[in-house]
């Protein structure tokens, strides 16, 4: 299990001031990965994310911290919150359990 501490390092793409009100840190967001993503990132990590962080911003943060997973986090990888698929514009909140699904396949 890895961990990610973004207290001093994180600056979302396009944001100039690292300590705006929006950037208040909140702990406790668990992120679960499956399939090839679990192999390159780990099955579960806990991250600090800015307040009002969207799924697409979360993808960018994770891609910065885990360059090996950068491509894997984009193409056809779905994000789920509370077992529901959410859009990239969805705002994740402290305490949310976020899951990233690489393409699924049965049969």
């Amino acid at each position: 299990m890895g961990s990610l501490d973004l207290h001093h390092s994180a600056r979302l793409p396009g944001q100039l001031a690292p300590l705006s009100a929006k950037m208040i840190r909140r702990r406790g967001m668990k992120i679960h990965f499956y399939g090839r993503l679990a192999e390159s990132v780990g099955r579960e990590i806990e991250v600090d994310v800015p307040e009002s962080c969207s799924v697409s911003e979360l993808r960018a943060l994770l891609a910065t911290e885990y360059p090996r997973a950068a491509n894997a986090l984009g193409h056809r990888v779905r994000a789920l919150v509370g077992d529901i698929v959410v859009a990239d514009s969805h705002i994740v909140r402290s305490g949310d359990s976020v899951e990233f699904f690489p393409p699924v396949s049965g049969g």
């Binding site: 690489p102 699924v104 396949s105 049965g106």
Partner: protein
């Protein structure tokens, strides 16, 4: 109408599944079943010892149930069955049993075809082939997505 979907962590017997379905379908006129097996070779010809199917603790079974229910709603069938393995599956072992029964054959054929096209692209599993050359993740192909698209 009887719709059943099951996730199996260990080997299962497709012939026993079929026998039970035939018995349950005694008032129907047709039973169509499909059995998927773990291939001993990958697409590029490398030997495969086992297939590993990772699953989700809540959403995998739900995906099987949803697909089975939607097949039952879409086609004029009286019975739908899906049995799907998870975990480590040796080459040659059954992965999936998908079947339907109906009064006339066409609906059962179509329901089984539909079940498999949906399962290939929407059942919540992550597949990895393991063999002497290493491991590789298997994802749906464009052909799989195109097959799924036939039903939209």
């Amino acid at each position: 109408m009887s719709v059943r979907a099951r996730l199996e962590a260990g080997p299962f017997d497709p012939s026993a599944e079929l026998a039970r379905l035939v018995e349950a379908a005694s008032n129907d006129g047709a039973v169509v079943s499909f059995v998927g097996l773990a291939r001993p070779q990958s697409k590029d010809g490398a030997n495969v010892d086992r297939l590993v199917l990772e699953h989700h603790p809540r959403l995998t079974l739900k995906s099987l149930e949803d697909i089975a229910v939607e097949a039952a709603e879409r086609f004029d069938v009286s019975q739908v069955r899906v049995v799907h393995r998870c975990g480590e599956i040796g080459a040659g072992e059954p992965i999936v049993f998908a079947a339907a029964a109906s009064a006339h054959r066409r609906a059962a054929f179509e329901a089984a075809d539909y079940l498999m096209d949906r399962l290939k692209t929407e059942a919540v599993f992550w597949k990895r082939e393991e063999g002497p050359a290493g491991a590789s993740w298997i994802e749906p192909t464009e052909a799989d997505y195109a097959d799924r698209g036939r039903w939209e």
